[in-house]
Assembly symmetry: C2
Homo-oligomer: 362 residues x 2
C-alpha cells in the first residue's frame, strides 16, 4: 500500500504511480474539490466520465455538517458521496483560520466558532485525525497552522507548532489504510521553508505536502519556495502542492517536482460564468458571445464543448439556470485534467521544457 | 410523418407510436419541461439515460430570451440545447396570461409586459406560429386562451377565440415538418368542452390537446372534462393533456384515453427537497432522514437511488448544494417515466384496470 513508483523523469518533473486502497493514482494529477462531500454541481458519474482520479473533501466542513460520526455510521465518505476512487481530506487547519469566527489558538489546538450554526467547536491534532479516520479518505493530512506568507515571526511560530502537531497526528493515528501526509510551512522565507522541509522529511511518511502557498505571495516567491522545499524532500515520495491550480502554476510546479494538485478554481470560476482555457479565460456573460455558435474551446473534447455553443451557455447564465454551473464545471475541471495528461505525456517524451515554454503567462 | 398507430388497447387506454422528424414516440409518455431550453438541473445526457423521449419547451420564455430568431440562426432549438429527440413547444398563450404583467387581450392577440425586462411585447396566433417555426420543435401548439375553470362566460368567449385563433394558426403555418396540435378549452363546463372538442376535431390535425385543466378545478371536474372531450376527439390521433403530471392523474387520464403528458411537477418538487414516489412523497428536509441509509425508493433503478442515501440527499439540501436538485430531479423524472413504462406494459397485458386500482389516492 502507498507505494510511489516513478516511471519517467524530465528534469525535476516526474511521472509516477501512487497506490491507494481505492486504486492507483497516476501523477502529476489534478484533484477537484468536493468541500461538502460533493464537487459542486457535478455528479460522481460526470466526474468519472471526465477522467477524475482523486477528489478532495474538507474535514472542517464535514466535521461541522453532517458530522464525521454520522458519515462513519453510513459507511464512510466514499460510500456517503458514492465516489469509488481515491479521496484526500485536508486537516481542517486552513479553514479554521480562514472561515470560522473568532478563534483561539494555543499549543494544544484551536477553538473556533462554526460558520454553520455559530456553535463553539474545537480541533486539535488528535481530533483532526479522529475525524479523518471517521471519514476514511485514502490520503489524510496532518493538522497544521497556515500563517500569512510575509509575517516572519508568525511563520516561525506556526512552523514549530505545525511540526509538533504532526508528531501528535502520527501518535494519534490508528488506521493503517490511510496515508498521512506531513505539511511543510514557512511562508515566503527560504530558511524557514528549508527548516520545515528538513523536519518533515526526517519522519517516515508516505507523502509530503507544501502548504501556505498561493495565499497572497508573488509567483516568484511561490515558485522559489517550491524549489527550496523539493530540494530537501525525498525524491521517492509523492509531493502535493495544496490549493494550487491555474494552468501556469501547475506547469511550473510540475517542472519543480510537484505531483499532486487541488484547487477550487475550476468549479468556482464555473459558478461565476468564467470558462477556463489553457491560456486564457472567457467571461461568458460578455455580449460578444450572444450569437457565437462555437464551443468554449474548439479543441476540447469535454461533454460541454462537444454539445453546446457559447451562445447557449451565455443564455443559461443570463437565465440563471443551474445547468450553466454544471456545464462550465465539466469544461473547467476537464481542462485541468487534460492538462495533466498532456504533462505526463511530455515528461515521458522528454519534451517538458517546451511545454513550460508554452505557458509563460501566469 | 406524424403517423399515429395504436398497438394495443385496454378499455379507453391505448399504447401507440407517433412518428416525428426526431424519432418515434411511444405513448403513453411523460415529457419533462425545459422551460428556458433546459430541463432545470439536468443535462441532455442525464435525460437520455433516464429514458426521456420528449421534452417540452416554452415559447413565451424563449421568445423573450434569448429570442427565437437567435435560436433559429444557431440551428434551431434541438441543436441549441443539444437535444436530438423530439421537442414540443407550447404556444405562449398560457404564460402570457399567468406570468406576464398587465396584458390587453383583443380579438387579434395579446399585448403584455415581459417578466424579463418589463418591455411591452405582443403575441398573436401568427407571431406564435412564426416563433415556433423558428424554434423548430416537432410538435407545436395553437395559440389559445386559457380562462379560469369556473367562469362560464369567460370560458365561452375564450373558447370562441381559441377556435378562431386555431384557424389563423393553420393559415399562418408554413413548415410541413411540424405537427400543429389544436387545443380544446371550455373550463369545467361539459357543454363548452363538447362544443370545443367538436370544433377542434372537425379540423384535419395530426393531434389534439386538452388545455385549461389542473388549474384549480376538482379532480372530478378534471376527469369528467377529459371523458367528455375524448368521447368526441378522433380515436386515431394522439391526445395530449397539458400540464398534468401526478402519478394519480396520469393513471386516471390514460384510463380515459390520454397519450401524452407534461408537467413541471417532478423538477419543481426536486428543487424544493421533495422526492416523488409512485404513491407518496418524501420531504427530505425531515430530520428523520438524517441517518437513513436507504435510497428514496428501494425498488427504484434511477441513478440517484442506485447510489445515494436519504441521509446524503438531506445533507446536500441542508448544505444548499446544487447537486441536491440534480439528484432529486433525476429521481422524480425517472419515476414518472417508469410509471409510463408500467402503464404501457399493463395495457398490452390487458391489466390496466388493476393498475388503476393501485392508484386510488390522488
Amino acid at each position: 500500500m502507498f507505494e510511489f513508483e516513478i516511471q519517467a523523469k524530465d528534469g525535476a518533473a516526474r511521472v509516477a504511480t501512487f497506490q491507494t486502497p481505492h486504486g492507483v493514482l497516476h501523477t502529476p494529477l489534478f484533484a477537484p474539490v468536493g468541500t461538502q462531500a460533493t464537487v459542486k454541481a457535478l455528479t460522481p458519474q460526470q466526474l468519472k466520465d471526465m477522467g477524475t482520479s482523486l477528489i478532495l473533501a474538507n474535514t472542517y466542513h464535514l466535521f461541522l455538517r453532517p458530522g464525521d460520526q454520522r458519515i462513519a455510521q453510513l459507511g464512510g465518505l466514499h460510500r456517503f458521496m458514492a465516489w469509488e476512487n481515491p479521496i484526500l481530506t485536508d486537516s481542517g487547519g486552513f479553514q479554521v483560520f480562514s472561515l470560522s469566527g473568532i478563534n483561539r489558538i494555543d499549543e494544544d489546538g484551536v477553538t473556533f466558532k462554526s460558520h454553520v450554526d455559530g456553535s463553539i467547536q474545537r480541533l486539535t491534532p488528535e481530533i483532526s485525525i479522529a475525524v479523518q479516520e471517521n471519514l476514511g479518505a485514502d490520503i489524510i493530512m496532518a493538522f497544521d497552522e497556515c500563517a500569512p506568507p510575509h509575517d516572519r515571526e508568525y511563520n516561525q511560530q506556526a512552523t514549530q507548532r505545525t511540526h509538533a502537531w504532526l508528531e501528535r497526528c502520527l501518535t494519534a493515528k490508528t488506521r493503517t489504510d490511510q496515508a498521512l501526509f506531513g505539511i511543510v510551512q514557512g511562508g515566503i522565507f527560504e530558511d524557514l521553508r528549508a527548516q520545515s522541509a528538513s523536519f518533515i522529511a526526517s519522519l517516515d511518511l508516505p507523502g509530503f505536502a507544501i502548504g501556505g502557498l498561493s495565499v497572497g505571495e508573488s509567483k516568484t516567491d511561490m515558485l522559489r519556495s517550491i524549489e527550496v522545499v523539493n530540494a530537501i524532500l525525498p525524491e521517492n515520495k509523492p509531493r502535493y502542492l495544496m490549493g494550487v491550480g491555474t494552468p501556469y502554476d501547475i506547469v511550473q510546479a510540475v517542472g519543480r517536482g510537484i505531483d499532486i494538485f487541488d484547487c477550487v478554481l475550476p468549479t468556482r470560476l464555473a459558478r461565476h460564468a468564467a470558462a477556463l482555457r489553457l491560456k486564457d479565460r472567457l467571461n461568458l456573460v460578455n455580449a460578444n458571445f450572444a450569437d457565437d455558435p462555437r464551443p468554449i474551446d474548439e479543441e476540447c473534447n469535454c461533454y460541454t464543448c462537444q454539445h453546446f455553443s457559447r451562445a447557449y451557455l451565455r443564455h443559461l447564465i443570463l437565465a440563471k439556470e443551474m445547468l450553466a454551473a454544471t456545464l462550465l464545471s465539466i469544461h473547467n475541471v476537464y481542462t485541468l485534467i487534460q492538462l495533466t495528461h498532456r504533462i505526463r505525456q511530455s515528461i515521458i517524451q522528454h519534451t517538458y521544457l517546451s511545454l513550460i515554454e508554452e505557458y509563460q503567462t501566469p
